[in-house]
């Protein structure tokens, strides 16, 4: 039985992953902004077999609230075995281009708030000498693209932070897992037209659950995104800057 903290627990991917934790009989603390939806998800996970499920309301951008949240985790679960960070927003790229304030807010939500939380968690886990920190990043961080570079920037920042953290914490026996989904059909992407490349939250949740139990440092899901992004990264800049992606 593992003790798992889930930040952004109302996200479709987090919920799909949490259902696997519940089936495993794990103890969970669900953290998110929406105080009405958290208990509904908690009830579902409890019925599916979770040992116990607590909820805590918090906004990632409220840095002072991080402390209270971690205290709640300590009292609810005790020492943590895993953390899954799954919150995020999808910035409106065109709106961001017109609004520096919005751009910075999106970077706070998707990168800086997470980095602040990870800074504290990293120290705890380093002291513990065991555990897994899993963060949902995105293929968008692999290369800045015209269509979503604000989002891509946040994810790229996370990726680099996690890579350094991985190197540091490996010495302490702590795993740092970077999850890079491609296109996923969730409420966040509701306005997009979907095609064969799109994955379901259930598929991604299954993959994350497996990765958190097993091995891997950077996981692309579905797997073929590793190759798609490799090609995109290898495009010469001369060519890249001419196309629309």
């Amino acid at each position: 039985m593992r003790r798992i903290l889930i930040v952004g627990a109302t996200s479709a991917i987090a919920e799909a992953t949490a259902r696997h934790f519940a089936r495993d009989g794990d103890a969970l603390l669900l953290v998110g902004r929406d105080a009405t939806r958290l208990p509904i998800i908690a009830d579902d996970l409890r019925a599916r077999g979770a040992r116990n499920v607590g909820v805590h309301t918090m906004d990632i951008n409220d840095l002072e609230g991080h402390g209270a949240m971690l205290e709640a985790a300590q009292s609810d679960l005790g020492d943590l075995d895993c953390v899954l960070i799954a919150h995020g927003t999808l910035p409106d790229q065109l709106q961001c281009q017109q609004d520096p304030g919005l751009t910075l807010r999106e970077l706070n939500t998707n990168a800086l708030g997470t980095i602040a939380l990870l800074t504290v968690l990293a120290n705890r886990f380093e002291q513990q000498g065991r555990g897994t920190l899993a963060v949902i990043s995105s293929v968008a961080g692999d290369r800045g693209r015209q269509s979503n570079y604000v989002y891509g920037t946040a994810k790229a920042a996370l990726d680099t932070f996690l890579e350094g953290l991985r190197q540091r914490l490996h010495k302490a026996g702590v795993r740092v897992l970077t999850i890079k989904p491609g296109f996923v059909d969730t409420p966040m992407t509701r306005d997009f037209e979907k095609n064969r490349l799109w994955a379901t939250p259930e598929q991604v949740g299954r993959r994350i659950h497996r990765a958190m139990a097993g091995g891997g440092d950077v996981v692309y899901t579905p797997f073929f995104w590793r190759f798609i992004m490799l090609v995109i990264r290898l495009l010469p800049r001369r060519v890249f800057k001419m196309i629309r992606l």
């Binding site: 089936r23 009830d43 579902d44 599916r48 077999g49």
Partner: protein, 400 residues
């Protein structure tokens, strides 16, 4: 509008060409499960397979299950599905304690046998037309484990089938027969009688049987055709069988769930499924006529199933399960020939005072429907004005 669960109805009862379908699979959360009493409350988009995954390890089984577990709770209620244990337990609707019904005008009602009981009886078997079921509370039944102690007995005639049904009625919880609908003449009505009970804990490994690869694409022609099916049926009938064995519940209840996209075997033109029920008195005669008609028409019927329903009054106004005998057959779609055959089967069913199952139907006429479901006008008055379906429009001429 029409709620759409997991789309396992065979025909157009879950389609709404002139309107919108509400994808109810998003309502897939469990709300509460009391492992001591077996009372489960969940959203209506939860699948029976998901319920079994959660509840069986805790000693609880779905009280009534159709031949596939890949149906939603809402769909199970809307079609008032039945299973191999109808003679004992009745239909799915008999085990629903309450549910919440949401109408297009925003009103919400909790319905049960004691509260809004008219809405309760209208919605069970009501084909999704009374509104959207948001959640439901079910009474699960205790089961010691995932095993079923199952026995298969060969029978050579319909008389033997009815006799086997009669003697098995009290001692066996699950009873169904596979019938060789291609066997004519002297061999008419031969088949395999399957009966079983829940096996004691530990009788089988909890691991489900391995799933096959499924049918990855639709072949350009049907693979279900007469010469092949005759040979298959003959071999299947004669295959040596152990007298009694413990098998996993998935192999006993859901053999087709393990073959993803099995419907593709029927090729691009697909197939029709025909299931009817005829009253007890007419049973043997009507079933014999139906089988004779099917064998004569030369239409290969893949899987034909025969069962005697128990003496339970229907749970809903439009419930299909009622006292009598039910026969289900598949027919590859050969166009007008097949439709003519199904019309002929309707005539036999109607003259026996029976009914055709809407969940399987894609073509029954308004006459057939109104004879089989005389309470349809009552349902029409409870139908949500914003809800309709292809089937309802076809069999009643009512709709947007």
């Amino acid at each position: 509008m029409l709620p759409f669960g997991n789309g396992r109805s065979y025909g157009d009862s879950c389609l709404n060409d002139r309107g919108t379908l509400i994808d109810a699979r998003g309502l897939d959360r469990f709300i509460a499960f009391d492992a001591r009493s077996g009372i489960l409350r969940c959203e209506a988009g939860v699948l029976l397979s998901e319920i079994l995954e959660v509840a069986l390890p805790l000693g609880w089984f779905v009280p009534v299950t159709p031949g596939t577990s890949l149906v939603t709770v809402g769909g199970a209620i809307a079609n008032d599905v039945h299973g191999k244990n109808h003679h004992r337990a009745g239909s799915f609707g008999h085990h629903v304690r309450c549910f919440e019904l949401v109408r297009s005008d925003g009103t919400r009602r909790i319905c049960s046998a004691s509260e809004n009981s008219d809405w309760f009886a209208a919605t069970i078997g009501g084909l999704g037309l009374t509104g959207l079921i948001a959640w439901a509370e079910l009474a699960l039944k205790p089961a010691p484990g995932p095993g079923i102690e199952a026995e298969t007995i060969r029978f050579a005639s319909l008389e033997e089938f009815f006799e086997l049904s009669r003697v098995s009625h009290d001692r066996y919880e699950y009873i169904v027969a596979w019938i060789d609908s291609l066997a004519g003449g002297k061999r008419l009505g031969r088949g395999l009688f399957m009966r079983g009970n829940h096996a004691a804990a530990g009788a089988v490994s909890p691991d489900p049987p391995r799933r096959g690869p499924g049918v990855p694409f639709t072949p350009p022609f049907s693979l279900v055709h007469r010469p092949f099916m005759r040979a298959f049926n003959a071999l299947y009938y004669r295959k040596p069988r152990r007298p009694s064995q413990n098998i996993h519940y998935q192999a006993f209840f859901y053999p087709l769930d393990g073959i993803a996209h099995w419907n593709r075997l029927f090729g691009p033109r697909g197939f029709f499924q025909y299931q009817c029920v005829v009253p007890v008195g007419e049973g043997p005669r009507a079933v014999r006529e139906l089988l004779r008609e099917a064998a004569r028409a030369g239409s290969a019927s893949g899987l034909s199933v025969l069962k005697v329903f128990g003496d339970h009054s229907p749970a809903g106004w439009l419930s299909f399960p009622r006292p009598g005998v039910t026969l289900a057959m598949d027919f590859p779609n050969r166009g007008r020939r097949t439709l003519a055959l199904l019309d002929a089967l309707d005539e036999i069913t109607l003259s026996a005072g029976g009914a055709v199952y809407p969940a399987k139907d894609a073509r029954m006429s308004a006459t057939t429907f109104s004879h089989g479901f005389p309470q349809w006008k009552r349902l029409e008055s409870y139908r949500d004005p914003g809800f309709s379906s292809n089937l309802w429009q076809r069999v009643t001429g009512r709709g947007p």
